[in-house]
Symmetry: C2
């Protein structure tokens, strides 16, 4: 079989199995997920042996230590995968939920019922835990899933997939709903991205390069976010202690992730007092501050920001700081340089909090809280399948519900149209 | 300016004006729509004069009478456009609605707020009323809109657009949020479909050829439906009178539209009595029936259906009829040949009604009602911007709400992540 034929067959099998998945009861799906969790823990030795093959190949290829670390499994990481599946089992099942039902003048009742999307393709890089996490979310929401991880994690992903599929088969469930692509041919991704009849949605998870590649080549809808350039605006009325605490948390707690702060905007009326304070605090935490001319007036030790610093996702301990005239300039700056991810205002002013909430149309908008809360788990969605900074279908962190759509249901007693 | 530059400028202007539209109050938008409605009626003479130019050109080109009729405006059609805008003004505004708000253990409150999509492009064919209808829905939902109608309707569309924009300008509103593409160059559509940074969604309205062209060439998400192959399944327990009434309405009342029935499935247990009855009734209404072998056994006057007839959207008084063994075969037939539009079961059996509702994942699924109800207005969405038979973002008839997305809003009082 050519790679094209192999991918087509795999996707057709997934499509067929997905129809059966759509009709499973929540109880059966939850039992399946819990059995899968147990199987991962019981199969830890097999997983570690498979993982060792990947790690050996990675070291031989001279992969960077950070990359090798991402790839590595250990007892703790295996337990975390298993617990992740158990948490998904505990979440409410969105499938079958009827969101609103109304009666028309002629007596028909009309409602909208949640149904699975169908077949979801996940294209990801080196972390093998994505195999279990994404499978759990897609299957719980009644979908079939095609998993295509990085070739560095080939043996690990296959071993995880085999354990999970064995549990489905043992329960008499359609194991073809879980497809792990085991060819390492690069063209496999391109072939998958053409199968618009068999696959309903593609979610790429990884660096900007992977995401651009997938969205440029896909004929299937892609849910994506390229980067998180999160802004925090400290308004004139902000409580300084709160603002400092939020800024430090947003920048320092985990700088390498997409919901960390990258640009701090400060109202000019408090620049003289707040700029020196926050700059000193951040520098004491080893943050490199790059400031606009007004920032540097009040904190001369700060390096000058260049035009390039606005809108940059540093992903490390670097922060761009700009003093703005008012909330209008803050909102304009965010519209111009932001990435529609997460923006925060720190304020005690009711009117400004409302304006910021309404007028900033990023996927997550916050008042007086750290941008680090912008993920599905922290926001209360349960586990997260990804995040979208494009507005169609989903916008922001995505949970189980975002892996469904809604059909109309109509209950009549013989009505016809006149 | 090249066509490319012209389309880019127009889309950039729309993007900027769309930001202002997003923040307008419902009261202002509704007043705008009512003034636009009045302006169409007061400007009827100008519209009719512009329309006459299009009609003259159409006749000179020898366009088919049906096409010329679609293009024609008269007092009644102008009043219908105006009333359409007034109806949209009366609909509730989805923008700003918060759909659910919950509290997290750390005290932050998390909700989801509806916001406009941004800039919507509508690509359509010859009916000039789409210009006013689509503008009304897109603007009411806080979006900017780019309208690209068929070149046959060039003068009519421009005249309608000029009247509507004049009202926006008179109210001091951003008239650039309503863009009517006035170049008749065919490349204008291709250029628009490339502007993924400026346009958030494309909705093609017209025949299958137009829709395929747009979705094959667009880098922007496209909401579409190619065709409606609607099935009605008459179950063994169906009330014959009700089944007959529903089948006649679904096939005959308006056969040229996408929610008309194209295939009738009949349970084998009632074939001997129901097949001759429904065939006779439909033939009396000049419907050409094409049947499976069992259908022809009980109604020998019926022409044999070919494999090609299953899944065909006839759009005229032709109906394919198949006798099936049970509800399973009915559902399988629909999955295999359907177009995910609208399917109906006629039954008195509670269990089968529930199975059909759950297991048939078309965009509209009905029990004991005519498929002709499958449009936004009949289902209670108010006016309809289109219909989607793809599952991402929207599935089924689309109203105002489908022109919005939801962002997360987070209200804290200083929370940081630990």
């Amino acid at each position: 079989m050519t790679i094209r034929e192999e991918m087509l067959k795999l996707a057709q099998d997934a499509r067929k199995a997905g129809r059966a998945m759509a009709n499973l009861s929540s109880a059966v799906k939850d039992e399946m997920l819990r059995r899968m969790a147990d199987a991962l823990e019981k199969g830890a030795n097999d997983l570690l042996a498979a993982n060792e093959l990947d790690l050996g190949a990675a070291r031989d290829k001279g992969l960077a230590p950070a990359m090798v670390d991402r790839l590595a499994l250990d007892e703790g990481r295996i337990k975390a995968m298993a617990d992740g599946l158990r948490e998904v089992a505990d979440l409410p099942d969105p499938v079958g939920e009827i969101t609103g039902m109304w009666r028309r003048p002629n007596g028909i009742q009309v409602g909208r019922m949640r149904i699975p999307l169908g077949v979801i393709g996940i294209i990801y890089e080196s972390r093998p835990n994505v195999t279990a996490d994404a499978a759990g979310l897609c299957l719980k929401s009644g979908n079939a899933v095609i998993l295509r991880g990085g070739s560095e994690a080939f043996h690990s992903n296959r071993a995880i997939g085999d354990l999970l599929k064995a549990e489905m088969a043992a329960m008499g469930l359609p194991a073809a709903a879980l497809q792990v692509v085991t060819t390492t041919e690069r063209s496999a991704v391109l072939e998958l991205l053409k199968l618009e009849e068999q696959i309903d949605l593609i979610i790429p998870r990884g660096g900007e390069g992977l995401i651009r590649f997938v969205s440029e080549h896909s004929r299937i809808p892609v849910i994506k976010h390229y980067k998180g350039v999160c802004h925090t605006f400290v308004d004139a009325s902000a409580d300084y202690d709160m603002a400092e605490k939020i800024c430090v948390n947003a920048k320092v707690q985990r700088p390498g992730v997409c919901n960390a702060m990258e640009t701090l905007l400060i109202h000019k009326d408090i620049a003289e007092t707040f700029v020196p304070r926050i700059v000193a605090t951040l520098r004491a935490k080893r943050v490199e501050v790059r400031g606009c001319p007004v920032t540097r007036e009040f904190a001369p030790e700060v390096k000058a920001a260049t035009e390039n610093d606005w809108g940059t996702e540093f992903l490390e301990l670097i922060l761009a700081v700009k003093v703005v005239d008012d909330i209008d300039e803050a909102i304009e700056h965010i519209q111009r340089y932001g990435s529609l991810h997460t923006e925060t205002i720190v304020t005690r002013d009711y009117g400004n909090s409302q304006r910021f909430l309404r007028e900033v149309n990023s996927s997550v908008v916050m008042v007086n809280a750290s941008s680090r809360f912008s993920d599905g788990n922290q926001l209360g969605l349960g586990a997260e399948i990804g995040i979208s900074t494009t507005k169609l279908h989903s916008f922001g962190p995505m949970g189980l519900e975002d892996l469904t759509t809604r059909k109309f249901v109509v209950l009549g007693d013989g009505q016809i149209r006149s």
